[in-house]
């Protein structure tokens, strides 16, 4: 394994766009070449080493044997691990928006919180967040009919609104609460929410959403039966009938009124 360690030299008030921080990009490069990769700080083109201290083995290695360790506050750094296909990124801290954009394989572990659009349009691989995640986890780009198509996202804390919007595949697990409209327009993905959710599964055509806490359920969902999963009783709903959906929604507790 080749490990590259990256530490911010300072805080970033202006966001940094660093889609080059990816095992696929780093793998064939020497450490010096990695340092001189171009990233953007707002409207300024800078090199990676202008903003970050970079250390690690100098010799190139295959991407699947490349581990990128991010140490410090990366909450102002966007697009980390974009389109990565293998290897690993481990973040000891927070990350900014769009981490794991279009990711097809490999692994991202975030010990802190993740910004919005985590795993946007993800196709494969794994993302784990020990803290909270922002809005649009595993969602699509605006106007697209598909968000995440495959892979796994697990969030130990809570997630923001529009979790898994336009989900077309893959699995998202949120141990805490989800915000408004988790699984909206779901087209075949699986979402498990440990806590509460507001209007889950709106417009879903297929797929499964499980809310182990309390959910406010749309009037366009039909309550079918009570089922037991892992020792917890759930109301099972079919929906979203407003668009002829055949998705399954399980809610342990339903908000009335």
């Amino acid at each position: 394994m080749r490990q590259i360690v990256i530490k911010p030299r300072r805080g970033f008030r202006v966001p940094v766009e660093a889609e080059r921080i990816s095992p696929d990009v780093f793998a064939p490069l020497s450490i010096e070449e990695i340092r001189s990769l171009q990233v953007w700080e707002g409207n300024r083109k800078v090199t990676l080493s202008d903003l970050f201290e970079i250390s690690g083995e100098s010799e190139p290695a295959p991407p699947e044997e490349t581990v990128i360790s991010l140490s410090g506050d990366f909450s102002g750094v966007k697009r980390i691990g974009e389109n990565m296909t293998c290897g690993k990124i481990a973040v000891a801290g927070d990350v900014g928006m769009h981490a794991g954009n279009g990711m097809a394989g490999g692994e991202i572990l975030i010990e802190g919180n993740a910004g919005g659009w985590l795993g946007r349009e993800m196709r494969g691989g794994k993302i784990a967040v020990l803290g909270d995640a922002g809005d649009y986890v595993g969602a699509g780009y605006r106007g697209e009919s598909c968000g995440m198509r495959g892979g796994e996202i697990r969030i130990e804390g809570s997630a923001g609104d529009y979790l898994g919007e336009h989900l077309c595949g893959g699995t998202i697990t949120v141990v805490g609460d989800a915000g408004d409209f988790p699984g909206i327009a779901n087209r075949g993905g699986t979402i498990v929410i440990g806590g509460d959710a507001h209007l889950p599964g709106a417009e879903m055509a297929s797929g499964t959403i499980t809310v182990r806490g309390r959910a406010r359920v749309l009037p366009s969902f039909q309550r079918l039966e009570t089922v037991e999963i892992d020792g917890l009783r759930f109301d099972k709903f079919l929906g979203d009938l407003v668009d002829g959906g055949k998705g399954e929604l399980y809610a342990a507790s339903v908000e009335e009124g």
């Binding site: 780009y141 605006r142 106007g143 697209e144």
Partner: protein
């Protein structure tokens, strides 16, 4: 400027692949240039600048497509440079991308195909932003209340006066008719089912609307003929409507040396079958008819696999599309004048309908014997974006390419069309006709589409040697060369070199100013004053497109003498 030694195809002037020089001075082709600039075109193909007679490139519909499709916007993104504004979009590019991409293809003029008078100001705002190419807009008349009333009252003179007024009000170039009567019916959610189905509330039929508008068009001696999008477009079995429409106007004569009617994006109007299950091509029936009736012309409306954005004044069609595809749907009805719709679509190779549609466009182009009756288009972005023109040309020039493609398509493309049996391969002269000389003649643009003395100095030069390359076999080379002009010259200025934009001049906007007798004009004004007082939501004085919106006009005079 002298373009030296290229292999020139200039069909209008009978130049068929001759090695010769082309001289340009003060923006026009001249016998001999004293100016020093020389362009070495030896071993290269030299054509007049491309002419796009039908594309949706500006105005409300196009911008609606952009606004509702950010996912399209992000495709084709290119950052700004010192010379260029940024580009975005594939099916609905921003204005700059439209100009740059036409220029890179070697096209130097393009016509927006459908503009309602009420919203023409918007169309011109966008046309003004499209760089490099010349442009114009066709004005929609087929569902306008004033038109319907003139037809109902049988008042051809007043109709002609209104058409002249409407062209001036919209700074429009020609008469576009889309699903005549259907757009008005859509005002209450209806449609017309054929050319003899009366339009609700107005008691006129599409047949009458088309005939009257054609007669008015010819009375005004407009440079272009009526430009028709047929009723029932996009529906299985519609070839019968298309043929019925043509038969209904066989007696009308053209007032100028051109067609009397142009039927646009014929691919969408050449369908057989009673439904989608037995959907089939009727391209050969349509082409047979055209081969016997040289007073009519058409354009292909070729389908391109992949993403497209359908946009048309045929609003009921778009609603049907959206429901069928479960796609997002925009609609825009325009008071007293038109309706329109926008729906994204992805054409799939393995989709039997799309595969047959793809074959139909090619059949039409190849079975119509006279290339002067046919224009190569994709009905951008309905059949697909115009950047795919090189693909279409390669298909027209190469039977092996067509066979390669057919092998990747749903088998019904071969079974329900005659495309596999068609041997014809267009040559460079025919390509020059269907992309340059033909559309220029059909539009009535004597200074475009050729390289004779006095023509506009619009030239495209491609890095392909017609004497060495066999387009049938080397179709990939053809496509690659056409996609990236070695040089595009616009008005005597090099705007593209080696496929890159090197200058960004502003083109001109064509519009037609047709004169009519004063008494007829007065009758129209009186009618309109009443309509504005009662029905329009704006004042008549704020209606007409002001000169500020057409800053570089090229005004073509026409009218009743």
């Amino acid at each position: 400027m002298i373009i030296e030694g290229g292999i020139v195809y200039d069909p209008k002037n009978g130049v068929l692949g001759e090695e010769m020089d082309v001289s340009i001075e003060d923006g026009r082709v001249v016998e001999e240039s004293r100016d020093g600039e020389k362009i070495d075109a030896r071993g290269m193909l030299v054509l007049p600048g491309g002419v796009d007679a039908h594309a949706h490139i500006a105005g409300g519909k196009v911008n609606t497509g952009r606004i509702m499709r950010p996912e399209d916007g992000r495709r084709g993104t290119e950052p700004r440079t010192k010379l260029l504004r940024p580009s975005t979009g594939y099916t609905v590019p921003n204005c700059y991308a439209i100009g740059y991409r036409y220029a890179r293809l070697g096209y130097t003029i393009a016509f927006e195909a459908a503009t309602p008078i009420l919203e023409a100001r918007h169309t011109h705002e966008e046309l003004e932003e499209i760089p490099i190419v010349d442009k114009g807009a066709l004005t929609l008349f087929g569902n306008n209340w004033e038109v319907l009333e003139c037809v109902r009252d049988g008042d051809l003179d007043k109709l002609a006066a209104f058409v002249a007024w409407g062209l001036r009000a919209s700074r429009g170039y020609g008469v576009k008719v889309v699903n005549p009567g259907g757009g008005e019916a859509w005002g209450f959610g209806g449609n017309v089912k054929g050319i003899d189905d009366p339009v609700p509330s107005f008691n006129v039929t599409p047949r009458e609307i088309i005939r009257y508008l054609m007669k008015a068009n010819e009375a005004l001696r407009l440079p272009h003929s009526v430009h028709l999008h047929t009723n029932n477009l996009g529906k299985p079995g519609n070839y019968e409507t298309t043929l019925a429409t043509l038969r209904a106007v066989e007696d009308i004569a053209a007032s100028r040396d051109r067609q009397v009617l142009h039927v646009t994006h014929m691919q969408f109007s050449a369908y057989g079958g009673t439904g989608w299950k037995d959907f089939e091509s009727k391209a050969s029936e349509i082409a047979d008819y055209f081969n016997k009736h040289d007073q009519f012309t058409m354009d292909m409306g070729q389908l391109i696999f992949g993403s497209a954005t359908t946009m048309t004044a045929d609003a009921p069609l778009e609603y049907a599309n959206a429901r069928l595809l479960k796609a997002k749907w925009s609609n825009h009805d325009i008071e007293l004048e038109e309706s329109s719709g926008v729906v994204p679509i992805v054409y799939g190779r393995k989709n039997p309908i799309n595969a047959i549609q793809w074959a139909i466009g090619l059949e039409l182009a190849l079975l119509t014997e006279d290339p002067w009756q046919m224009i190569m288009t994709t009905d951008h972005p309905n059949g697909g974006p115009f950047v795919n023109y090189p693909e279409v040309i390669a298909l027209l020039m190469s039977r092996p390419k067509r066979e390669e493609e057919l092998a990747t398509l749903h088998e019904l493309a071969s079974k329900r069309s005659s495309l596999p049996t068609i041997e014809r391969e267009m040559d460079w002269n025919e390509v020059a006709i269907v992309t340059r000389a033909g559309p220029a003649k059909i539009l009535g643009l004597p200074e475009k589409g050729h390289l004779g003395v006095g023509a506009d100095g619009d030239v495209s030069i491609y890095e392909i040697d017609p004497e060495k390359v066999d387009p049938s076999r080397d179709h990939k080379e053809v496509k690659a060369a056409l996609a990236r002009a070695k040089y595009t010259i616009k008005g005597g200025e090099v705007v593209v070199r080696d496929g890159e934009i090197v200058a960004v001049p502003q083109g001109r906007t064509y519009w037609v100013d047709a004169s009519v007798p004063e008494d007829q004009a007065a009758k129209v004004e009186a009618d309109l004053a009443s309509k504005f007082a009662k029905y329009y939501s704006i004042q008549m004085s704020n209606y007409m497109v002001q000169d500020a919106y057409v800053t570089r006009p090229r005004v073509i005079k026409a009218g009743v003498i």
